[in-house]
Amino acid sequence: MSVLPLTVAVLVAGGTYLMLQAGLVRIIFGITLLSHGANLMLLAAGVSAWRTEPLGTEGASRSADPLPMAFVLTAIVITLAVTVLMLALARIGGDDDTYQMPDTGEDHHG
C-alpha cells in the first residue's frame, strides 16, 4: 500500500489553504507546502517501488528513476529563488496584508 498519495494530499491541501489567505507570508508558506507536494508527486511518477540510489549501474533493476529526481532538484532551487523574491516583497512597507497597499512612502501621482 502506497502512502505517498496521502502525503501529497496533506501537503497540497495545506498549501492551497494558505495560498488563499490575505498575508503574503502565509501565501509564501503555502507555495512552499505546495511545492513539497508537487515534488513528491513527481518522484512518485518514477514509481516508488524501486528505491536504490541511481549511482552507477549496480543494482540497476532496483534503481530509482533518476529523471524525476533531476526535475525535482531543479524545482527545489527555483522554489528557493521564488520564495526569496516574494519574501523581499513581503518586507516592503512593514506589513504583508495583500488586501491593503503597503505604505511605502512612494508617490504614485508624480
Binding site: 502512502v3 518522484l43 511605502t104
Partner: protein, 956 residues
Amino acid sequence: MTVLLLLVALAAVPVLVVPMTLALGRRTGWVLAAVFLGLAAALVPAGRDVLRGEEVTWSRAWVPQLDVDLALRLDGLGLVFVMIALVIGAAVLAYSAAYLSPGRQLGFYLWMTVFALGMVGLVLADDLVLVFLCWEITSLASFLLIARSGSGGEAASTRTLLITFVGGLTLLVAVVLMIVATGTTSLSEALASPVWQENGALTTTVALLVAVSGFTKAAQFPFHPWLPDAMAAATPVSAYLHAAAVVKAGIYLMLRFSEAFSSVPAWNALLITTGLFTAAMAALFALGQTDLKRLMAYSTVSQLGLITAAIGVGTPKALTAAVLHTIAHALFKSGLFMMVGIVDHQTGTRDVRRLPPLWRVMPWSFATVIAGAGAMAGLPPLLGFVSKEMVLGSMLDAPGPAWTGPVAFAAAAAGAVLTFAYCAKIVLGAFVDGERELEDCSVPEVREAGPALLVPAMLPIWAGLPLALAVWVLDPPVDRAVSAISDGGGYALHLWHGITPELLATAVVVLGGTLVVSRRRWLRPRLERDLLPRSGVQLIEQAVRGATRGGSWLARLVTADHPGRHVGPILVVLTLLLGAGTLAVTLGTDVPAAQPDLGRPIDAALLVLVALGVAGVCLAQSRIAATVYLGGVGIAVTVQLFALGAPDVGLTQLMVEVLTVTVIMLVLRGLPAGFGHRRHSRRPGPVVLALLLGAAAGGATWLLTGRREQSGPARYFIDEGTEVTGGDNLVNVILVEFRALDTLGELAVLGLAGVAIVAVLATVPDRRSEDGAAPAELRPSPDAAPQDPQAARALADPASNLRAMQLLLRLLTPGLVLLSALIFWRGHNEPGGGFIAALVASAAVALVYLARPEDRPVARPGLHLGLIAGGVLTALGTGLIGYAHSSFLEPLHGYVGGVHVSTSMLFDVGVYAAVLGLVMVAFDRLGAAAVEHRTTGPGTPAPSHAEHASAQEERA
C-alpha cells in the same frame, strides 16, 4: 545577383548614415542623393535585361523548415517602382540637404534610408513572408518619420500607425491564407496558382483582404484620414513618402495582386467604387483646405483614388493607365510637395489666407507650380495629361453591366472638374490671389529660393514635359510592367490619340473647372469650413478612446492587488481537472495493477509528521511558530526524499530548507509578530477548496503513478548514462549534461530573482529610513523587554552573547569551505554537485552573518550581482564551447594529468556562482542593508538581529 547587391547596398546605407551625419550634418543629403542615383544607374544593365523580357532573380533558403525563401525578383512592375523609389528619393534627399535646419538630422536620414530599404525590398520580394516583412518596415519607418516631427506629430503618427497596422494585419491574414491554399510561399508561384480559378469563396476573401491592405497604405476611403494627418511630418518626408513611396506601396500591392484577382467581381466592384468615391470626395475636401500642404495631401488621396479605380477595371489598358499615372503622379506630386515646402521656407507660412501674391518675387517657383498643377489637372502637353486621358478612357471598360462603364467615366470626369479647381487654387492661392502685402510676412524679405532648394524640386515636375512629348520612351517599361501582371500589354503611349471621348471629357473638365475657378470668391467661404460634423481624426480618436475604456473595463474584472483573485480560479480549474480526470479514468478504464511494495513503513511515520507540521503552519497565529512548523515539514519531506532513494534531491532540499528558514527570520523582523488577518481566515471557501484539491491531488497520485515497469528513459539513463558521460551520479549528469539547457534556464531564473530583489528594494523608498527613526516594531519596547535576566543580558551586550558562536565559526568555516569544494568535485560520481556545494557555501555565509554582533553586509557591494552575472555567463560560455564539437551545451570530455575532466564541470561552476550570488543578495538586502538604513542615529548601535529575534520571540 544584381538585385541582391542593390538590397545589400541599401541596407548598408542606414548604417553609414550614423557616422556620415556626424561629419556632414544636414549635407548628408547630397551624399545620399548621389548614392541613390548611383544605385539607379547600377540597375540599368539589369533593367535592360528586364525590358528584353528576362527576369532577374536571386533566391536563398531562409527558413527551410517552413519552406520560406529569401527570394528576390526584378520584373517590369518592380523595375518601375524601384526606379521611382530611387530617383524621387535622390531628388528629395538633395532637397533635404538645403531644406532641413542645420544640424545632425540623424533621425531623419536614418529612417528615410531605412524606409527606402523597406520600399525597395517590398517591390523586389518574391516571397510572401518577405513581402509582409517589408510592408511592415515601410509602416514603421513612416511612423517614426512622422513621430519625430515634434509635438504635433506624436498623436498623428500613432493614428497613422493604427491605420497602417490594420492593413498590416489584413495582409498577414491574406498571406497566410495564400500560403495555406497554394502550398507555397513564393509570391509569383502563389499568384499563378490555379486555386484562384477553382475556389471562388477563398479567392474573394483573399482579394478583399489584399484590397483593404492596399487601401490603408494608399489612403483610400475610409482609411484616408491618416494622410492629411501625417502632414505634421517635415516636408521632405511628405514629398517622398506621401507622394512617391509609402502610398505607392499600397498601389504596388494592388497592381501586383491584380494578376490573380483582376477578374474577381468583388475586387473590381470594390476598387472601382472606392477609388472613384475617394477621388471625388478627397477632391472636394482638397478644395476646402487653406493649408497648401493639407491640400496636397487630399489631392494625393484623390489621385490615388483614380489609380485604384483603374486597377479595379483590371483590363491591360486600364493597368497601363494605372502604371503610367503612378509614374506621372510620383513626379509631379513630389515636386509640388517640395514647392510647397519652398513657399513655406521663403515666406514663413503655407496658408493661402496669409500668403502675399508671390508670382513677381518668385517667378521660377511660380512657373514650376503651374507646370506641376497643370500636370495634376491633366492639361496638355504634360505627362499628367497623357496618363489622365488613359485613366478616364479606361473607365469605359469597367466590367459588369453595360451602364457601369459610362457611369464610371462620368464619375471620374466629375472628380476631374474638382481636381482642376483645386489645382487652380494651388496656383492662384499661393501666387496670385493673396491679399496681404509682401512686407507683412514674418520673414524680413521674401525672395526666390536658391538653386539648392529649387533645382531638386523643379526637376521632377519639368521632367513631365519632355516625357510627354516623347512619351514613347516610357513604352517599354510600362509595357513590361503591365505584361508582368496581365496577359496583355502593348498599348502604345501617345500624346495625341485623335478626337476621343476622353479628349472631349478633358475639354468639358477644363470648361467646368474654369467656371468653378471664376466663382472662387463666392465658393471659398462655403468650402473652407468643416464640411462634416466629425472629422476622420476625431472618429479615430473616439474609436481609440472606446477601445481603451473597454480594455480597462475588462481589466477591472481581474485586477486586484491580492493574489487570491488570480490564484483562486487557477486552483479551482486544477481541482476540476484533476478530480474529473481521476474519476473518469477510474470509472471508464481498466486501471493496471499497482506495483507491489510501493510503500515503506517509514513513509507512514513521515506522513504523520508532515500532517502535524502542515496543521501547525495552517493554524499558527504567530509568524515565528508557523516558521518553525514549516521547517519541521521541510525536514520530514527531506527524510522522505532520502527514503525514496534520492540523495541529491534530499541534500538540496535540506540546504534549501536551512537557508529559507534563515531568510524568513530576517524578513519577519520587519513584520508584525502575529498574522492577525482573521477577517479572511474564517471564510469557508479556502478550507473547502483546500480539502477538494488535496483529495484530487492525492487521488491522482494514487491512480496515475506506480502502475508500470521502469520507464524507457529511466532504463536508458541507468544502463547507458555512466558510459556516455563518464559520471556515476546519474542525477548530476542529467542536470549538467543531458538536460543542461533546463539547468541554464533555471540559472537565469535564480539570477533574475537576485537582480529583481536588488532592483525592487532599491526603487521602493523606505520612508522610515528617511525620517531617521527605526520602526516601532523593530525597537524593543520597554514592556517587551525580556523578563529573563539571561535574555536581558544577551540583548544588552550582543558581542559577548555571540562569542561562543564566533569561536564555532572559526572552526566551522574552513570545514564548510572544504566540504563545499569536496561536494563540488565529487558531484559527477557521488551525491553532490554545483547546487549542493553552493548551498553548503551559502550556509557558511549565513553562519558568518549570524555570528556578527552588528549588522554588516557579508559581501562587498556588487559582489553578489557579479557572482550572478559571472555564473550565468560562465554557463552560457560553456554552452558555446559545445559548438566546437557539435551543438550548444554539448559537453567535451578529456583527461588532464590522468584525471577525467569535462566542460560540464565548468558549467557546474556557473551553477555554483549563481546560487551563491542569490543567497548573498538575500542576506545583504533583507538582512544587513535593510537594518543599516534604519540606524537610529550616530552613536546608537544598530539593533542586531539576535536582539530582534528574541524580542519577537518574547512577544510571540
